[in-house]
């Protein structure tokens, strides 16, 4: 195993992006992701890349739009209120089928909320966010090593499918420091040369990048159908989750990101104590790992969803499990986080284990 270095989540993500060939970053400071623009501002000039501190989140995402159209691997990052501002640009980039990576290190909302970690932007991330029928590939790492790898993969998926990819972390993922092996970038897909970019029409007909579709009259319908076909294909091809101790589990706990790793520790301890518990931790939130849930509804009896929100992924879990099992929820928004103990208590109560039986 290669040597590990100690870095903050925000820095790990930025370094992974640089390793993956990201050469343009535009952003605007917002806690708790400030180390991201700071890191890029130091690092990108070293590799011939460009960092721009934009005047607003709106400008930042539109700079990324331009950079992506010009052919660069481009990225922006923010935290919840800032990502709301970026939604306009994200819709345009999705419509124009340009690649880019957007990170959201979620904080407490709604409104200005607070700067503590939260998961209130799940719906915004996986169900749209901006206007129109579009999807983003949404990635939810639970550790910094996973953040490192997924950030690299994000650029590959963005280029391969020509679409924005979102890294949905939270303030804790952004702020913790963990040892990470900075493995060299290896593309996971073969990326075709970018024959759609704008670089001046030397020796070729001029190109247009646009999202307004007036002609023919049904052109926008056709464009939407094209996008939907692409999304269906992605749903088959990109689908990641961590399944832990699901075999023989009567109760499946599910959580993503930081609560995912907390839930895993609780499940591990419960298993040590002999309880029939397993876990599914979605890693891609869109596409949602439906298959993993379709499988466990045949063997498990109950589901528990844990989120740092008032239940957003909960709805996708119910859809994926076809509401076949009683599903309970543990979660709050605004900066609350679950502890291993509180998840364990919930597991015990759902399995009707008394304090005595645990011992």
């Amino acid at each position: 195993m290669a040597e590990k270095v100690l870095l903050k989540g925000n820095e790990v993500m930025a370094e992974a992006a640089v390793q993956a060939g990201c050469r343009f970053f535009a952003g605007y400071p917002i806690t708790p992701q400030n180390e991201v623009p700071e890191y890029f501002s130091r690092r990108l000039p070293q590799v011939g890349g460009v960092f721009v501190q934009a005047e607003s989140e709106v400008a930042a995402i539109n700079m990324v739009f331009g950079a992506a159209a010009a052919g660069a691997r481009a990225m922006t990052s923010s935290s919840s209120p800032g990502v709301s501002l970026k939604q306009e640009g994200i819709s345009y980039i999705a419509a124009a089928e340009l690649p880019c990576v957007i990170a959201n290190m979620q904080r407490g909302g709604p409104g200005l909320g607070n700067i503590r970690a939260a998961q209130g932007d799940y719906f915004q991330s996986v169900k749209g966010g901006g206007h129109g029928d579009y999807k983003l590939i949404v990635l939810a790492p639970a550790s910094l090593q996973e953040l490192y790898t997924l950030t690299m993969n994000a650029f590959d998926w963005a280029d391969y499918y020509r679409m924005p990819v979102m890294i949905l972390g939270d303030g804790i993922l952004a702020q913790i420091a963990e040892p990470v092996e900075l493995a060299p970038y290896k593309p996971i897909l073969e990326i075709a040369s970018k024959d759609y970019i704008l670089n001046g029409c030397k020796g070729r007909p001029s190109r247009v990048v646009k999202t307004l579709v007036l002609d023919p009259a049904d052109g926008l319908i056709a464009h939407n159908e094209h996008l939907q076909r692409k999304y269906r294909r992605i749903a088959e091809e990109v689908n990641l989750c961590e399944e832990y101790q699901t075999s023989g589990a009567e109760l499946i706990v599910t959580a993503y990101g930081i609560p995912g790793r907390i839930a895993k520790a609780a499940v591990r301890q419960a298993r040590k104590d002999g309880l029939p518990v397993g876990m599914i931790r979605p890693i891609t939130l869109w596409p949602f790992p439906d298959a993993a849930f379709a499988k466990v509804i045949k063997t498990a009896r109950q589901l528990l969803v844990v989120e740092m929100s008032h239940g957003q992924m909960l709805e996708d879990v119910k859809l994926a499990s076809q509401c076949a099992l009683p599903t309970e929820f543990l979660g709050k928004g605004g900066g609350w986080y679950p502890t291993e103990e509180i998840i364990r208590e919930k597991i015990d109560s759902m399995l009707n284990v008394s304090g005595r039986a645990r011992k």
Binding site: I176, A177, R261, Y337, T339
Partner: protein, 190 residues
Amino acid sequence: MDAQSRKMIIAGFGGQGIVLVGNVIARACVIQKKNVVGMVAYGAEMRGGTAYATVVVSDEEIGSPFVDCPDAAIILNQPSLEKFEADLRPNGLIVLNTSMTQRPPRRADLNRIEVDATQIAHELGNLRVANIVALGAFIAKSNLLRMSSIEQGLSELFSSKNPKLIDLNIQALHAGAERSRFCPLKTEQA
């Protein structure tokens, strides 16, 4: 402090080098190939009052990065003692900088290390190394990490920042180890 204990908090006022102590502990963990998650209280909380960092160390995969109920606390000033004493788990370990704290812990169920960290730092000629003096006391009396790993972590950290400070910090570390007093919990019932 036994090897199982693995969640800790380092607290003081801003400028006492709280983040640095967390960073050195985390680096030592990397050197010893342990899993570690470090975190600094971020945002508005950093300014004024107490600053704190948390570290979770484990040989297993780490679940929660949060430290609600620490096994150990390095307390560098009085407000931090007020704020965090109650959170420690029973039988936990508290390291007190007696130069900056006005009383012993109220709780009777804690192991205690006392070190006159700021005074010792003053004698060493740099008040800023009080944090490392306290760290030395902690490392010497707990068996969580090897002193040599901490030394290596300090060297790594300062070699890029200011190599001239490496010797002073290692001196502070050992001074803390030597001039601290361990007051174990009296376990009558044991």
